[in-house]
């Protein structure tokens, strides 16, 4: 079963559910709207609109303690702190000269990272004296726009995917904010901006995620492939690459459902599941909301309204509906886990260019 919510007439570039999963924040043009999800029969109710940006909001994220961070093409990010039922914006000093493209809270909610077209990742943390968020830049060796970011559960390591087709893992250790991390497969000594992994996937990297055990990475790329990268013992060493080429259109988003199962989605408008492991390799197993399993309903298309609509929009007198068989009617931009433990996700949510947010069962 899946629960579709039509929330916007504009594309939704990013969505995020609150920690208790009772409300959802979506990007809508220059604003962010927060909807409360009432009982299953009722429609979602608009709680509040966060207005401050003057260019489209490209990404947003909600921290574990309920703070919302938004970033926009106007080169700014804002942290919205819940106060007396409303949200109060706090300034973030990103120091970038291009659009901000993606933003993610660290798991403990003390820092966040903003990726941008300025070939910079701004790692932001709160400064009490001035009551604003300040940033440190990760610059080298980034060569192009950052498209995705993901935090390691230790709040220090940060994975990023970029249009220079590289996947990289950096240390975003901030003195005074973080405690010293214990050694992991990614490295032992981790001062700020340490490069822990760098690998070229040969195509734009739209999304990159740590697996639930944090021992390897999964990446979705523009060539319709999913790649899994296993780090080796040496410095910057890659032990194993498992690349699955598919015949799907480019993928935009990827999440791990368990250490041996991922779901990806993108220009094909429905979620696609891959399963496997380092030893056996990965392969496509099934799709959720697969259009191949559905039948077109011709009865709905015989109305005069539909006929004239077809003639008006497409100039065709064909009675077949132009709508897709999938729930999403356009590219899926973002997938996020909705329900389940970190190692075993049972429900996930998606949002797309058709202005829908959909909750899918795995």
């Amino acid at each position: 079963m899946s629960l579709p919510l039509s929330l916007s007439k504009q594309p939704i570039y990013d969505h995020c559910f609150s920690v208790d999963r009772r409300s959802v924040a979506i990007s809508k043009g220059n604003d962010v709207e927060i909807y409360e999800l009432t009982d299953s029969s009722g429609k979602p109710r608009l709680l509040t609109t966060l207005k401050h940006h003057d260019k489209p909001v490209t990404a947003l994220d909600i921290s574990i303690d309920g703070k919302i961070v938004t970033c926009s093409q106007d080169r700014n990010a804002l942290v919205w702190v819940p106060t007396n039922g409303d949200y109060k914006p706090t300034l973030v000093l990103l120091r970038i000269n291009r659009a901000a493209t993606c933003v993610k809270w660290s798991p403990n909610g003390k820092k966040f990272a903003v990726g941008s077209s300025a070939r910079v990742i701004s790692v932001c943390y709160f400064e009490d004296e001035n009551d604003w968020w300040i940033s440190k830049h990760i610059k080298r060796p980034l060569k192009s726009t950052i498209l995705s970011l993901d935090w390691h559960p230790n709040n220090v390591l940060l994975a990023c995917g970029s249009t220079d087709s590289h996947v990289r893992v950096f240390s975003a250790y901030i003195k005074g904010v973080d405690s010293k991390p214990s050694p992991t497969v990614w490295g032992e000594r981790l001062p700020f901006q340490t490069l822990c992994l760098d690998h070229n996937l040969g195509s734009w990297v739209h999304d990159v995620k740590f697996d639930p055990t944090s021992n390897f990475l999964g990446a979705a790329t523009h060539d319709g492939s999913v790649t899994f990268i296993y780090p080796g013992p040496g410095e910057l060493e890659v032990a194993k690459i498992s690349k699955v080429r598919t015949s799907f259109l480019p993928f935009r988003s990827l999440i791990f459902l368990s250490p041996s199962k991922v779901v990806v989605a993108g220009h094909d408008c429905y979620p696609i599941v891959f399963e496997g492991s380092a030893e056996e390799g990965w392969k496509h197993t099934y799709s959720i909301d697969d259009p191949a399993t559905k039948k077109r309903n011709y009865n709905e298309n015989q109305s005069a309204l539909n006929m004239f609509r077809q003639m008006d929009l497409k100039g065709s007198s064909d009675t077949a509906s132009s709508s897709l068989l999938t729930i999403h009617q356009n590219t899926i931009n973002v997938l996020r886990p909705f329900q389940g433990t970190s190692g075993e996700v049972t429900k996930f949510s998606s949002s797309g260019n058709d202005g829908k947010v959909v909750i899918f069962d795995v």
Binding site: S165, S203, T221, D223, S225, R245, S247, P250
Partner: protein, 150 residues
């Protein structure tokens, strides 16, 4: 204002913002290196073994080489593609792995950009059509984003 300032490329004045592509470390073949391969391809055409000719063409394509080398490579492959009968195209494609089909699509697209390829455009489109029918749009999606170009 006289000048169309919206079209000024501001990045060209910033030395730091020039995007330098990764060095892919490809071997650069010369025409002499490839003579052996051309010979083999011609033999497979002579013996009417299209499957082998295609297989040869899609292994170790000369990505990093000079344009004239690539050009003569493409023309050699074009001969194979032209010799194939429409009826045997499907069997040939079914014998190729995903990676090999990707390379074949790359070659077909590169050929479409040459005047020789355009003269036999019908055959090239026939190949592309059959590939999409049997494996879907994946190879085209990959062609568009592939840094390894012929």
């Amino acid at each position: 204002m006289e000048e169309d300032w919206r079209r000024i490329d501001v990045d060209q004045f910033d030395p730091e913002s020039q995007f330098v592509e990764d060095d892919l470390g490809l071997p650069s073949y010369t025409l002499e290196d490839l003579q052996g391969k051309f010979q083999q391809i011609r033999q497979s055409i002579a013996s009417n073994n299209i499957a082998e000719g295609i297989k040869l063409s899609v292994t170790d394509a000369p990505y990093g080489s000079a344009n004239d080398v690539k050009q003569s490579y493409l023309l050699a492959v074009l001969e194979v593609l032209n010799t194939a009968k429409q009826s045997e195209v499907n069997t040939v494609i079914s014998q190729l792995s995903t990676e090999e089909v990707d390379v074949l699509v790359k070659i077909v697209y590169a050929l479409m950009a040459t005047s020789e390829g355009q003269r036999s455009g019908g055959a090239l489109l026939g190949w592309l059509d059959k590939i999409v029918d049997s494996v879907g749009e994946g190879p085209i999606v990959r062609y568009l984003s592939d840094p390894y170009r012929i």
